[in-house]
Symmetry: C2
Subunit: 424 residues, 2 copies
Amino acid sequence: MTAMHTELPANIARNLAVNGERLWASLMETARFGGTPNGGIRRLALSDEDRQVRDWLSEQARSSGYDIGVDDLGNMYIQRRGTDASRLPVAMGSHLDTQPTGGKFDGVLGVLAGLEVLRSLDDAGIATEAPICLVNWTNEEGARFAPGVMGSQVFTGDFESGFALSRTDADGISVADALDAIGYRGTERCGERRFGAMLELHIEQGPVLEAEHETIGVVEAAKGQIWFNGIVTGQESHAGTTPMPLRKDALSAFADFALAVERIATTEAPAGVGTIGVALVGPGSRNTIPGSVHFSLEFRHSDKTRLDIMHAHARDAAKLISQTRGCDIVLEPIWSKDPVQFSPEIADVIRTSAADLGLPNRSMISGAGHDACAVASKAPTAMIFIPCKDGISHNEAESATPEDCTAGANVLLRSVLALAGTAT
Amino acid sequence: MTAMHTELPANIARNLAVNGERLWASLMETARFGGTPNGGIRRLALSDEDRQVRDWLSEQARSSGYDIGVDDLGNMYIQRRGTDASRLPVAMGSHLDTQPTGGKFDGVLGVLAGLEVLRSLDDAGIATEAPICLVNWTNEEGARFAPGVMGSQVFTGDFESGFALSRTDADGISVADALDAIGYRGTERCGERRFGAMLELHIEQGPVLEAEHETIGVVEAAKGQIWFNGIVTGQESHAGTTPMPLRKDALSAFADFALAVERIATTEAPAGVGTIGVALVGPGSRNTIPGSVHFSLEFRHSDKTRLDIMHAHARDAAKLISQTRGCDIVLEPIWSKDPVQFSPEIADVIRTSAADLGLPNRSMISGAGHDACAVASKAPTAMIFIPCKDGISHNEAESATPEDCTAGANVLLRSVLALAGTAT
């Protein structure tokens, strides 16, 4: 990456701030594209609602005189020009698509705060050396077309555009056709653009900032994951006639294992987590001792070595419980993803910005995947988190305060400006 | 009850035995009525297959000259006359209906061994003082018409015949209509008959006799039961972003509770058992921490006081786990049944018979419900268990050896004869 300019001129440092009311108004205004009666948003990737919000964003960009680019995956690039032609753009952004019953902030905040940053620079009459590029990444949620984090992963070459374009939704409509239908299949080749840095502002989607009364999370890494399918096999038998010592109860063995998973993950807290989200008990009859439990298991950790250790401990626990109980516990890994280390330099810029603004902040590790996790392999990247109510997301009840949204946008503004350099 | 005659004359004691080959042949012959390709039986109560086996039994009884009665619930009484008109009949029996994928022995053995007992007395030319009455109880399984143990519970007045006759199957056919359709709605009022004693030979449906290499279980009681619906409520949240210490994982709380149930029941083993057969985890998504678990719970014990203590301990455990984990565990009792104490005198007769035959035997408590559990409230009653392979029943793989069936029938023969008294 190019050298960073992390000191803001004193006059700018004192006065520069986003227009929090305008940011909030834009969040509320765009929330009507796919708005639900319960105050959430249903704006599936490349749907007509997605087209509406994209058109709205294009119109805002046009009226401000920014350059607009769209690549062949529909990723939108809205660029405010810089003064130094040799500098790569500083990027910021997130996604405007939502879950089927999503909220108003997940993804949306990162894009609209980026727009607010560009406008605030206009308002303050500040020119930057490097261009600043706001990105709306296509299909982060993966709710209509799997896999998610699609536009940014094609951008980084994690998978081929041909693969992504041929994915279909439940009605058999391909990504390519959906892009054509809404007029967002651009001519620029996805991945051809380069960035000097990338920042993503996002709600935390977890309870930590709220619980600790911090406003800003400086996100230094994202957890790696390993997913399993598991089966406990015991012996189905009569609940009334089988004495306790002669049972091979698959549900009891599973309960032992579930608590072992919890202990393994708690030992690695807070960087490590472990979750069993699915458990299907067979045969599922009131007076039959369960003979089987099919379950899901996932571990996440920011450190690959510790993730592997969690996996090994889970295998040890499964083996021990199998032996002790005369049951059989099998774990089959089905998917994994290495942890992502964000750029320490970008994280430092974010931390400095938050401190300059007097905002209580802490280092964090993202437990969820984001566009920034993909982009980190191609440009120095870090993320900014703000609190969300009760840690809830992917839910119509998802909520963040205007104050926290403004604070996050101000940190984004200062960080982007520090990285792009003022041309004054 | 009338006085018992438990000493057999020495000449009879030495030589009397059932014809084991004839018993086995009758088991195999009747297994074709509803026989399945996998070697099981599908003979739902009052189906045409049930009619076929009832007709077969009637024909056997007629050809041997026994009296045949059928009551208005379809219970069949096949009586071999005694010499003393003042004595109440000694009854024995079980049921000929099966589960939808049932085996060849559950219920069937108790009826056909009873037939073999009558035939063996004929063969040996033995007259008894009291009549001996073989009963085929209607709809023990409850698979087509709920509730089960129907004929014997109407017989004892546990519920009204009008209630039972109006129960319908999945096609809306009532018990009354089904009885008419197969020609087994008799004119005798169900419950009008009285018995001096009742014995039921049955496969154990559990693993104890097989595990301990015993041939005969002298069943002295049947466990009482209490059934619950339970709900664990935690807090649904993101599996990646919610640190372990901030979770309210309903599945972890449920696992704690399931192991507490197991400990409570194990403390009461072997008389007490506790089982969670059903557990439904919500929302059941791989990367969402479970917010709820709906589950079933049942405890059984032969001692009502201990059953109540198990219940109390489960409530204590639910409360403690709820407090510790910030989750909520609610238990709702939905059904209960007190333990049944069988007649110690009848049990002694069975024990003596087994000992006289040199058969290894042990006292047992039935964990399942049987016709004998109902009849016990109306006549001195006890049960005889024989081993079944791997403790499996309600399954086409249900299996018992010819030797054990013969041994059980011999114990039944001697016990019935001892109770009825020889008229020589």
